[in-house]
Amino acid sequence: MLAIEVTNLTKKFNSFVAVDNVSFSIESGEIFGLLGPNGAGKTTIISMLATLLRPTSGSARVNNFEIASQEDAVRKSIGIVFQDQSLDEELTAYENMDFHGRLYRIPKTVRQQKIAELLQLVELDDRQHSLVKTFSGGMRRRLEIARGLLHEPTVLFLDEPTLGLDPQTRNHLWAYIEHLNKEKGITIILTTHYMDEADRLCDRVAIIDKGKIIALDTPEKLKEEISGDLITIQSPEREKLYAKLITLPWVNHAEPHDGSVTIKLEHAERHVAELAQLSATNGIKIESISIHKPTLEDVFLSFTGRTIREEEIGSKEHMRMMHRMWRR
C-alpha cells in the first residue's frame, strides 16, 4: 500500500521554481528521506504534502486522500514536526499536548491517557508541568515529536528533526524514530541535509537539488553507484596538486573541491605511498590523505558537482534570537 504518491508536483513563488515537477511514491511503513542542501525545496514539498501550501501544479495523495481537495482528511491522518519550533513557550509541556489533543478533538479521557503515555515515551513526564520556555533544544524537539504523535497519525513528517542538536541527543532521537517506525509501523518522511542521518535512518533516500529529484534509491544502492574507494587529499596548493595528479596513469577520475582533491579508484591503499612521494618530489604541501568508502556526501557530489554545506543561520532563527534577547 502506498502512503504517499506524488505526481508532477510543482511549486513556484513568483518566477522562482522551488519544486520542479517532482514525482515519487512512498510505501507504507517506510522511512523515507529527502536529502539536499538548504533551499533545495525539501520543506516546500513537506508543506504541500501537509496541506499548508497549495501546489502550483501537479497532485499528491497522502493516505489515499488528495491534498488539494481532501485537506481535513489529510490533516487528520498525518503528524508533522516542523523545522522551526512550533510550541507555545508560555504554556507547559502538558498544556501544549492538551491543546493539540483538543484541536484534533480527542475525547478527554483518551487524551489524558495518551498524553501521559507519550510524555513518558519521550522522557518528559517529570517535566510536564514546566513551562516550555525553560526547556532545552532537545527537550523541545522531543516534545514536538510526542505532540505530533498524539492523534495517532499513520504518516509522520519530520522536517530536519535533529537540526541544531548535540550528538548525544541526535543519537537518542534517531533510536527513537526507528522505534516508532518498527514498533508502531508509522511511515516516516524526513528531510535532512545531514548525510549520516539519511544513511543511518532511511530505507530509501531521494536526493534533491534545486527543486528536482536527482537520485532516488536505497542508501546502499546509491553508494554502490560510486564503486571502489575514494582518496581525499587536503592541500593548500589544490590546483597544483590536481594538475600533477591527472598525469598519473592510475588516476581516471579526480575532482578538485574547496580545499581538497578527491580521487575515485579501486584499491586505494596501494597508491598512498605513491601520492606521498609525488607531493614530496614536486614540493606540494599536503595536510592530510584519507581513504574512505563512498558516503552519501560523495553521491551528492558526483551528481551535482558540489558539496552539501550548511548555510548560515536562517533569518527566522535570527529573529527568534533577537526576540529572546529583547525580552530579557
Binding site: 499548508l52 487528520k76 508533522i80 507555545d88 508560555e90 504554556l91 484541536l103 526576540h323
Partner: protein
C-alpha cells in the same frame, strides 16, 4: 465550538500568566485617570454631567484600556506567526474561521477584564455609578469594543509580516481612533466639522455607550450607538476572518 473554546482557553492561560503585561497595560490608563482626572477635576465643568471631569473621563479611560488591550491581543498573531505556533493550529483539521473566532473571543475577554480593572480602580477613587443596570449596559459596549478591535488587530496582523509596522499602526491608527472618540472631551463642544469626524470613529459610540451606562447621561443616543457599534463589530469580524483565511506561512 470546542475548537473556539480551545483557542480561547490558550489566550486566557497566557493572559493570566503574564502578570507584568496586566499591570503594564494598566499603567497608561491609570496615569491618564490620575493626571487628567484629578488635575482637571476642579477647573473643568462639563455641562449636563453631575460628577465633574473625573466622572466624565472614567468611561473614556475604560474605552482606552479595552481598545489598546484588544488591538494588542489581535496583533499577537504576528508573534505566533513568527515563532511558529500558528503553524501548529493551521495544520490541524480545523477551519480557520474557528481559530479566528477563538482568538477574537480571547482577546475581547482579556480586554474586558482590563476595562473592569479600571472601573474597579475608579470606584476606589470615589466614582459614583448611576445604577447597577448601568454597569450592565456599559459591559455590553465594552464587549463590543473588545470584539471589534481584536478582530481589527487580527486583520492587521494577517497583513503584516513582522512587528516593524506596529509603531506605524499605533501612531496613525490607534491613537487617532482614541483621540477622536470623545473619550477626553465632550463632542458637543467641538466645531461642527470635527464633530462629524468624531462621528465617523466607531469608538465614539462605544465611549458614549459606556458613559450612558456609568454616568447616566450621554451626548449620543445609546440605541444608535449600540446599533453602529454592533454593525462595526460584525463588519470587523468578517474582514478579520477573510484576511486571516488568506494568511500564508
Amino acid at each position: 465550538m470546542d475548537i473556539v473554546h480551545t483557542i480561547w482557553l490558550r489566550t486566557m492561560k497566557r493572559y493570566v500568566r503574564s502578570k507584568s503585561r496586566i499591570i503594564g497595560s494598566l499603567g497608561m490608563p491609570l496615569f491618564f485617570l490620575l493626571v487628567l482626572g484629578f488635575g482637571l477635576n476642579s477647573v473643568v465643568r462639563i455641562p449636563g454631567t453631575g460628577q465633574g471631569y473625573m466622572g466624565f473621563i472614567v468611561p473614556g479611560i475604560i474605552s482606552m484600556s479595552v481598545l489598546f488591550t484588544s488591538v494588542f491581543s489581535g496583533i499577537q498573531i504576528i508573534w505566533d506567526k513568527q515563532f511558529g505556533f500558528l503553524k501548529e493550529t493551521l495544520v490541524a483539521p480545523v477551519s480557520r474561521m474557528e481559530i479566528m473566532l477563538g482568538q477574537t473571543l480571547g482577546g475581547a475577554t482579556t480586554a474586558c477584564i482590563q476595562g473592569f480593572l479600571i472601573l474597579a480602580l475608579s470606584l476606589l477613587m470615589g466614582l459614583n455609578i448611576a445604577s447597577v443596570s448601568g454597569v450592565l449596559i456599559a459591559s455590553v459596549f465594552m464587549v463590543l469594543i473588545g470584539l471589534s478591535f481584536t478582530a481589527f488587530g487580527i486583520a492587521i496582523a494577517s497583513k503584516m509580516e513582522d512587528m516593524q509596522g506596529f509603531q506605524l499602526i499605533m501612531n496613525f491608527v490607534i491613537f487617532p481612533i482614541f483621540g477622536l472618540s470623545g473619550a477626553l472631551f465632550p463632542i458637543d463642544s467641538l466645531p461642527s466639522w470635527v464633530r462629524s469626524l468624531t462621528l465617523l470613529d466607531p469608538l465614539t459610540y462605544g465611549v458614549e455607550g459606556i458613559r450612558y451606562g456609568l454616568a447616566g447621561t450621554s451626548q449620543l443616543n445609546p440605541f444608535v450607538g449600540l446599533l453602529v457599534l454592533a454593525s462595526f463589530t460584525v463588519f470587523m469580524v468578517v474582514v478579520g476572518a477573510v484576511l486571516f483565511r488568506k494568511i500564508n506561512i
